[in-house]
């Protein structure tokens, strides 16, 4: 029986070749798109699920509530760990200190430096042994116990091989961290899976951090409950059957016990489940990205809709074709076929087409996967074939078969054999002409929605890229160094050598460029008041050439100088307005107390610049001098073209900092990186809008080809009666144009609503103009006309006698 189904299905596929190609192509594209989306979602939702205690692991989060704002921080004060262990003895706590851009120098022996040095942008975590009672890693050598001592470190296998050749020879080898801290390799772990937000690669013991505090610039503050940095994090493993909520309640008491409660800002802690860490956009994590669940769900929805569109094509074309197959159905009924058998046959044929499409889709997905990193946050190569994806594919193919085949199978099996045999089945009898119209409208509505979304997303991205950020980001080279005392001591000489280079215009030492993703905030008081203001002050720190090197605009006063930099401060417009001053000149001479320090005099007001990405607003900001933090050298060049001077700058660096690797980047490039996520998102929209358009055009083309056959006779008669080609093309296009306009009436409000919501993520955003919608509707009408046009013209120019004779 199935062999018979199979042969006839194959012959039908061959006989209605163009129809099959359209069906298979449309479905294949749609299925490939969903497979890719599935892989993305599968990867994103798999983060850190492999820890065997995953559902008992939590991160201790700090929450600061002030009268005006609530802030969340992953950073926990240093003394908190011990207090937590004391007050919650039943919970396992682990702490780590994360280090960015650390330099690791391989040592020949404890006293001899080798020339092998590496900068690790991320992956360096000073961790205590408890961290690995909480998180699972596979030990190849040593154990978590080696982290009990200072001066010991654990390496991930690939890093050990990179530093020492083989991981076996890495054991007991020595490394120097940032040229200061000598550590010995005491353990090797397997590389952490890519779906983890804890990319442990270089793991010195937490004790190493504690016994080398002088290199980390925390000084006495390290015991202060008022200081926290996002680099110091605490994790908890709850005993089985203990509810996080009960700990949270006790953490309130805990916070009241340890934090100064008289301050305007109330601090408390709560536990964040491990499974939220990859998705909580209020916080940062240690991985390379945080995923927005809304975006992921939107993506899933797009996947489903695209498959539905392809199913709609299938249903449209199959019911259109049903008339042609009426006779076969009638005969089969007369031969004794039951309705169920006929339905099974249609579903079987659909299944076969879907299967072909599925195989094509796997191929397409395989071709597309390497390009995924341009549209998704996932930078590593995903594997196409895994248990989950195979299961997904099978389920999708079955569901698609049912979606696409069920309605046509109902239509076909309901034919009365007498009528089928009398050849009375025609297109109107097949019914569903209005159903087909509804389906086409839905398809167009969806592709127009995507067109609208794409236009707006791309517009917003362009707006951000070209927006005025309030300073000059061009031709500034950033060199990342260190801020230990020896490095700082050499800065003056380094600078004077740099200034001798003809390409260099100015040099500034700083911690951070004006726009960066780091933020440093503090409490503050204004104009000799003892009371703190109820909002945080954002700090930027740099030497007296900061404003010049970054091309900032002074609205009043001056920048601080070498002579007075320790006592003066420069503020931005927003801060000025927030403290209630209208004219920049009025701010000059007023004072600010930063944190618990002395009052400093305001000497200048700068025009607002974007502190962070344009997603966030401009914050009230003060620029102060704080030489102990200057690890970054900013060099303003005379032109954006680095040319030979790159080498010259490198030579100057090597002369002064031979033991450090130079890490250089251009400011404008690093600013562009802030928007990578948005950039990818807008690419994603473009890709999926294109796919949606292709699929709906395929459907339209199929439908019009069918109409052309149906209308052959009508067109023939009209032509004999003297109709022009134009009027016949119009006959074809008229209906579709109306359908597109109806679709537009659905897509436009939906598009406006969705994208207006999306734009709310940005403080600086474009207005959604009417032109967006006009462009979208014009685009889809033109695309549809092009699709319909070819068929319509060939129908209109065909020889009328031929088409009439064939009847």
């Amino acid at each position: 029986m199935f062999k018979n189904y199979f042969t006839i299905a194959l012959r039908n596929i061959k006989r209605h070749r163009s129809h099959s190609v359209i069906n298979i192509a449309g479905l294949a594209i749609a299925l490939a798109a969903t497979i890719v989306i599935f892989l993305v979602l599968q990867h994103e939702y798999s983060y850190d699920t492999y820890h065997k205690n995953a559902d008992r692991i939590y991160q201790v989060i700090k929450k600061d509530v002030s009268p005006t704002e609530t802030g969340f921080q992953v950073g926990v004060p240093f003394p908190a760990t011990r207090a937590l262990r004391q007050d919650f003895p039943q919970v396992t706590f682990g702490e780590l200190y994360k280090s960015f851009g650390s330099q690791l120098t391989v040592m020949k022996d404890p006293n001899t430096i080798s020339s092998r040095r590496f900068i690790e942008e991320s992956g360096v975590f000073f961790a205590d042994p408890e961290i690995f009672s909480i998180f699972d890693v596979k030990w190849m050598a040593g154990s978590a116990a080696v982290l009990k001592e200072p001066g010991k470190l654990v390496l991930a296998k690939s890093i050990a091989e990179k530093y020492f050749g083989t991981w076996q020879s890495a054991m007991d080898g020595y490394l120097k961290i940032d040229n200061n801290i000598l550590v010995q390799v005491a353990g090797i772990i397997e590389d952490v899976p890519s779906n983890s937000d804890f990319p442990f690669a270089v793991i010195p013991s937490y004790k190493t951090f504690e016994s080398n505090q002088q290199y980390f610039n925390y000084g006495e503050q390290i015991n202060d409950w008022g200081l926290s940095t996002s680099d110091h994090q605490v994790y908890a493993l709850l005993p089985e059957n203990m509810k996080a909520a009960s700990i949270d309640a006790n953490l309130e008491t805990f916070s009241r016990k340890y934090y100064r409660m008289e301050s305007a800002t109330k601090t408390s802690h709560f536990l964040q489940p491990l499974k939220n860490i990859h998705f909580d956009t209020r916080l940062e994590n240690n991985g390379d990205h945080i995923s927005n669940k809304t975006s992921l769900n939107t993506l899933a929805l797009i996947g489903v809709l695209i498959v539905l569109m392809a199913c709609i094509n299938f249903i449209n074309l199959s019911t259109a074709l049903a008339a042609k197959r009426g006779k076969e159905v009638g005969i089969r009924k007369v031969m004794g076929s039951s309705k169920t058998q006929l339905r099974t046959q249609v579903l079987f044929e659909t299944g076969l087409i879907v299967l072909f499409a599925g195989m094509t889709a796997v191929l397409l997905a395989w071709l597309a996967l390497p390009y995924l990193r341009y549209i998704a946050d996932i930078q590593q190569q995903l594997t196409l074939i895994n248990t989950g994806s195979i299961l997904f594919l099978v389920i999708t193919l079955v569901v698609t078969t049912i979606l696409a085949g069920f309605y046509p199978s109902l239509i076909l099996s309901s034919f009365q054999p007498v009528e089928a045999i009398k050849n009375k089945i025609n297109n109107t009898r097949v019914g569903g002409l209005s159903l087909r119209r509804v389906l086409v409208v839905l398809q167009f509505a969806f592709s127009q929605l995507l067109i609208i979304a794409t236009i707006i997303a791309v517009g917003q991205m362009n707006f951000i890229r070209t927006a005025d950020i309030g300073f000059d980001k061009e031709a500034v080279l950033l060199l990342q160094g260190n801020n230990d005392s020896t490095s700082l001591a050499r800065q003056a000489a380094f600078k004077s050598d740099l200034l001798k280079l003809p390409a260099v215009k100015s040099v500034s030492f700083t911690m951070d460029p004006p726009s960066s993703l780091n933020s440093w905030t503090t409490n503050f008081a204004f104009n000799n008041n003892t009371e703190d203001l109820p909002f945080s002050l954002y700090l930027k720190t740099g030497d007296e050439h900061y404003a010049g090197t970054f091309g900032m605009n002074l609205l009043a006063g001056r920048f601080y100088t070498t002579a007075d930099s320790a006592r003066k401060v420069v503020i931005n417009e927003t801060l000025m307005q927030k403290v209630g001053i209208k004219e920049p000149s009025e701010a000059i001479g007023k004072t600010i107390r930063i944190g618990a320090g002395k009052f400093r005099e305001i000497v200048g007001v700068v025009r607002d610049f974007k502190n962070n990405s344009l997603r966030d607003g401009i914050q009230p900001t003060a620029i102060i001098s704080y030489p102990a933090f200057y690890s970054l050298t900013a060099i303003k060049l005379k032109s954006n073209n680095l040319g030979k001077s790159g080498e010259a700058i490198q030579q100057v660096w090597d002369k002064h900092y031979p033991e450090y690797a130079a890490e250089t980047r251009f400011l404008d490039e690093s600013i562009n990186e802030f928007y990578q996520q948005e950039e990818r998102l807008s690419r994603l929209y473009k890709v999926y809008a294109t796919l949606a358009i292709i699929i709906s055009c395929l459907g339209l083309y199929g439908l019009v080809s069918f109409m052309a056959v149906q209308k052959n006779k009508e067109v023939g008669i009209r032509k004999v009666l003297g109709a022009s080609v134009g009027s016949i093309v119009y006959l074809f296009s008229k209906e579709f144009t109306v359908l597109i306009l109806i679709a537009f009436a659905l897509a436009a409000p939906a598009g406006w609503y969705l994208m207006n919501n999306w734009l709310q993520n940005f403080t600086y955003r474009i207005d959604i103009g009417a032109w967006v919608f006009i462009l979208a509707v014009l685009a889809s009408v033109i695309i549809a006309w092009l699709t319909v046009g070819y068929k319509a013209i060939s129908a209109a120019t065909a020889n009328p006698v031929k088409s009439l004779k064939s009847e």
């Binding site: 006989r15 076969e328 005969i331 007369v334 004794g336």
Partner: protein, 231 residues
């Protein structure tokens, strides 16, 4: 074996009820060879379809082998005619996408017959109709007469007790027509298959042992008497 009592069928055309069949009372016995005649539009095909259970009457009773067909659900009816009825059409109605072999095999697929048995049965049929050489051809590669042979082979493969043939020779030349009629006679006489055929040709009608005349959806007793007189 077939009893029709007051079979009436109509269509509504606006306010008018147009009768396709009106008060048909007929009885056919096993082993008969019946010819149905009548002018075009008199309801011959409609009657045949009702007998073949692929169309419903609006009124009246229909008993097939003492079972009340008019009271049956579609499923039961399908089961009944699958077992007992073979159809032959004027326009052959072969499935274009299937080969000769597969066309003949189709009814067996719906009777759940084992693959090996099917092979043997189809081979028998091909042999019997001398079309073994054509088994892999598609209908459009055959002449009309050959197509009708395939149609008859397909009707016979399920070993039906009744063959319903609607102008089986209508599209054939007279020689081909004669061959088909000879075949029917043989089936009727040797195998005892009941045959009910619709025909316009007096000559073909004469192959039957009884002729039913229809006129405007009624049995035309007058014409039938005339006919018996002339014979």
């Amino acid at each position: 074996m077939i009893k029709l009592k007051n079979i009436t069928k109509w269509v509504n055309n606006g306010n008018n009820r147009v009768f396709l069949l009106k008060d048909i009372n007929l009885q056919f016995n096993e082993g008969e060879f019946i010819s149905i005649m009548g002018p075009s539009g008199s309801g011959k095909s409609t009657l045949l379809n009702v007998i073949g259970m692929i169309d419903d009457a609006d009124e009246g009773e229909y008993h097939f082998l003492d079972q009340a067909v008019h009271e049956m659900k579609e499923k039961q009816r399908a089961l009944l005619y699958k077992q007992h009825i073979g159809f032959v059409f004027q326009a052959y109605h072969l499935i274009d996408e299937l080969t000769v072999y597969e066309n003949i095999e189709t009814p067996l697929l719906y009777q759940n017959i084992k693959s090996s048995d099917r092979k043997a049965m189809v081979a028998d049929m091909l042999d019997r109709f001398n079309i073994v050489g054509k088994k892999d051809l598609f209908p459009n590669q055959l002449s009309g007469g050959q197509q009708q042979l395939v149609g008859i082979a397909r009707a016979l493969i399920g070993a039906p007790t009744v063959i319903l043939a609607d102008e089986p020779t209508g599209n054939l030349n007279s020689k081909q027509g004669e061959e088909i009629m000879e075949l029917f006679r043989e089936l009727n006489e040797k195998d005892g298959v009941t045959i009910i055929q619709v025909t316009h040709s007096e000559k073909n009608a004469a192959y039957g042992n009884r002729i039913i005349h229809l006129l405007d959806g009624r049995v035309d007793h007058h014409a039938m008497e005339q006919y018996t007189k002339t014979v």
